[in-house]
């Protein structure tokens, strides 16, 4: 029981974050992907990545509102898994789709706005991921903490990437963009002071 209380959230979050990958692997294994499986993998890893980025982004404001410790864990783990799906997303493109063909890649990368946006998001997330791993070590590197703020432009770029590569039906990418914009907006100091009850609660608990 104590174990569950201590580790329950950790286990549940990990399982939930791995499930989409498992689902994708099972679909591929059972031949349930479309005639163009590379595109399925591309679309699904991209979707999972932006879902997890959004969840991670929601962790902090929800923590301010609700004060559950597992929300801070959610923020961290969702962010790490999001980066994992981003890596799969990029690897699928470069390896399975383009077969490391640099000529084809070069012809596409620098001329497509959606790829520039996606690539920029990836490059911004890379140091955040590395810093997050380093901070996890016993000796946190203090100077690296500001790196997490790179997540904000990265997530916005990911949303732009999603919009730009969608043909015709923009409802889903626009919905993500709206949620992401809201989650960034509430971080503005004067908005935060309205919803951040975590400080107050701590004071109450201390008394």
């Amino acid at each position: 029981m104590t174990w569950l209380r201590r580790h329950g959230a950790f286990v549940v979050i990990n399982v939930l974050a791995v499930l989409p990958l498992l689902w994708l692997v099972v679909d591929a294994w059972l031949g349930r992907l479309s005639a163009d499986p590379v595109t399925d993998v591309q679309d699904r890893t991209g979707l999972y990545a932006i879902i997890l980025l959004t969840v991670s982004l929601a962790g902090t404001p929800l923590y301010w509102l609700l004060g559950f410790d597992w929300l801070r864990l959610l923020r961290r783990l969702a962010g790490l898994y999001a980066f994992g799906y981003v890596v799969l997303h990029v690897a699928n493109l470069v390896w399975l789709d383009f077969g490391f063909n640099l000529t084809f890649l070069y012809e596409d990368i620098l001329v497509k706005r959606y790829i520039i946006a996606g690539l920029a998001a990836f490059i911004l997330l890379l140091p955040v991921f590395l810093a997050s791993l380093a901070i996890r070590q016993a000796r946190p590197v203090r100077g690296w903490r500001w790196l997490r703020y790179l997540v904000y432009p990265a997530v916005l770029l990911a949303a732009v990437h999603f919009i730009l590569q969608t043909r015709l039906d923009l409802r889903l990418p626009l919905a993500f963009t709206a949620v992401i914009a809201l989650l960034l907006f509430v971080r503005l100091p004067f908005i935060r002071s309205f919803i951040d009850r975590s400080g107050k609660r701590r004071v109450e608990l201390d008394q």
Partner: protein
């Protein structure tokens, strides 16, 4: 699925020599199955009875092809399950299911406009009047994927000749069925329905341009545009509209669906051209369904046959 030599992609000269005329659509059960020049036989797994004609006398290596590398025909199951047909759904894998009960009989095609003999054809009469032949074409989607499909059909030019175009006719305008009850995608506001496409008259009269009624020796399924669709192999797939009900010869360049929806992304000509970029998809290379990424060729590899149509035109501005 056996690999078939590159010579499988039928160059114009060759398919002219191996035209197979089906004796009307009633006998499509005994559909012709195109065979490889090398004598290999490809039979779709779902074909029940098929007469296989092997042009054994065609010597290997005498054919020339504009496409490098081996190009196998795309498996039948992929051709009928991966479809861009927004009249049913934006999701390519949902189309086949949504179109399953789509009735394609009775069906009439109205051919008119600037012609001497406007006619409305019942689809059965059309098929009788213009016997089908098989054409193996590459099909290149603007979304940077492609297939190789053995179509059944007849040259559009023959149909146009039958209605006697007037001298004032410069373009052909095509229309897909508009019936939101039968085509649920038409209830969505993403595009202006009905779907309209167009060709310049000389493009329409070109021998490579066909009206298709079948593929892989069988009648078209609804998801592939039954009962009658256009196939223009040197243009992006969206030009080859499906489930056609109306063909008009007109004087002005018709306003077509995709250029209306997004003029910067889609042009009237929509010739496959690796030199004209698209904001979303690679036009310099493509993913061959069931195979790997290959370079995209000018005019989808049909340059020799069709480049003359565009002599003197700037293909970058007239894209």
């Amino acid at each position: 699925m056996k690999k078939i030599k590159s010579s499988e992609i039928t160059p114009e000269k060759l398919f002219l020599s191996r035209r197979k005329f089906l004796a009307g659509l009633g006998t499509v059960a005994a559909g012709a199955v195109l065979t490889a020049c090398a004598g290999e036989t490809t039979t779709p797994s779902t074909t029940e009875t098929s007469t296989t004609t092997t042009p054994a006398t065609t010597p290997t290596g005498t054919t020339t092809t504009t496409t490098p590398g081996p190009e196998a025909q795309t498996p039948y199951d992929d051709v009928i399950s991966y479809n861009n047909f927004y009249e049913f759904s934006l999701n390519k894998t949902d189309v086949a299911g949504l179109a399953r009960d789509f009735k394609t009989s009775p069906w009439t095609v109205e051919v008119g406009g600037l012609v001497g003999k406007p006619q409305t054809f019942a689809i059965e009469d059309l098929e009788k009047q213009f016997p089908s032949e098989e054409r193996v074409y590459r099909m290149r989607c603007v979304e940077a994927w492609s297939m190789v499909i053995p179509w059944l059909g007849f040259p559009l030019g023959k149909l146009l000749q039958a209605v006697e175009p007037l001298a004032t006719a410069k373009f052909v305008r095509f229309e897909t069925l508009y019936d939101p009850e039968r085509m649920p995608g038409q209830n969505m506001p993403f595009l202006d329905w009905p779907y309209v496409e167009g060709l310049r008259l000389d493009e329409a009269m070109h021998d490579l341009t066909i009206m298709s009624t079948g593929l892989y020796g069988k009648p078209l399924l609804p998801q592939n545009g039954a009962p009658l669709r256009l196939v223009v192999p040197w243009k992006y797939g969206f030009k080859s509209l499906k489930s056609i009900v109306k063909i008009d010869l007109v004087e002005e360049m018709p306003k077509t669906t995709w250029p209306l929806a997004s003029p910067s992304e889609y042009g009237f000509y929509a010739n496959v051209n690796p030199g004209v970029s698209h904001p979303r998809w690679s036009q310099s290379s493509e993913r061959r369904i069931g195979d790997s990424r290959i370079p995209t060729l000018l005019f989808n590899g049909y340059e020799e046959e069709v480049a003359g149509l565009y002599a003197g035109m700037d293909l970058r501005t007239s894209f």
